[in-house]
């Protein structure tokens, strides 16, 4: 098992860096090239959500991205360090702002829906420390 970890300050510009790193590690892990767009988009969505969440509630804290190559899966975990708060509206952190899909009369949590539609396997968990999005795709275990 090999893991690459990335920690970044919650700036929108860093989301692209996270996507590039995730794609590079996925490719090295043996993820099929046909799945690469899905990995890129799902990781971008998860990181965008975390950035929005951090900018609203904990701008000084870093976001963590862990990319792990197991025997047959490429595992991505995006973790924010914003503790769940009673003041947060449901779906906070996804597409906030004037042009959010929610603001346009669309369901909140569109980013979650995109991730669920893209990733083969998704698990979202909230802990005392924050929210963690775990996604995985089949791989050939190339980095071992």
């Amino acid at each position: 098992m090999a893991t690459v970890e990335l920690s970044f300050t919650p700036l929108p510009a860093h989301v692209r860096t996270a996507r590039l790193v995730a794609t590079a590690v996925a490719r090295r892990s043996g993820v099929d090239e046909a799945l690469m767009d899905e990995v890129r988009l799902a990781v971008g969505e998860a990181c965008s959500r975390a950035v929005e969440e951090h900018r609203l509630y904990c701008p000084a804290e870093p976001i963590r991205l862990a990319l792990t190559d197991t025997a047959d899966r490429f595992l991505v975990v995006v973790t924010d360090n914003c503790a769940p708060s009673a003041t947060k509206p449901p779906g906070a952190g996804f597409n906030g702002g004037d042009d959010s899909p929610g603001a346009a009369g669309m369901p909140a949590g569109l980013g979650f829906a995109v991730i669920a539609g893209l990733a083969d396997d998704v698990e979202i968990s909230e802990t005392a420390a924050g929210t963690s999005i775990r996604m995985s795709w089949p791989s050939a275990g190339g980095a071992r």
Partner: protein, 116 residues
């Protein structure tokens, strides 16, 4: 790749050419352009996404916001896109039913004209 934006008029319709990546970092620039066009009374818009390399839900939100703004003036916002990787996100989110999506700018213009 960063985001490149340009726009021009064709047959009375404002064409917005978008090139590069539309994400949480770059989407605000597209939003500002769409707001500027609406403020300048351009209510018939075609967003040409043929050179868009990446689009996430933030970008979708901006496009939906633009659509909402032009519709408030009885306008419309159509898209030009044939790339499967971009069309996929519209399909996943059900937005293929919200936007008119065309293969070429000329086809989008013709569709708008037939609506009038």
């Amino acid at each position: 790749m960063d985001l490149k934006l340009d726009h021009h008029s064709k047959d009375g319709i404002e064409i917005v050419d978008v090139e590069g990546e539309i994400d949480v970092y770059t989407a605000p620039r597209l939003r500002e352009l769409l707001i500027e066009l609406v403020n300048n009374r351009f209510y018939q818009l075609v967003v040409n996404m043929e050179k868009v390399e990446f689009l996430d839900s933030t970008g979708l939100g901006v496009l939906v916001g633009g659509l909402k703004r032009v519709r408030a003036h009885d306008g419309s916002l159509d898209l030009v896109c044939t790339q499967e990787r971009i069309l996929k996100i519209f399909r996943i989110t059900g937005l293929t039913k919200v936007f008119g999506i065309h293969d070429t700018v000329d086809e989008a213009i013709a569709a708008k004209r037939s609506e009038k």
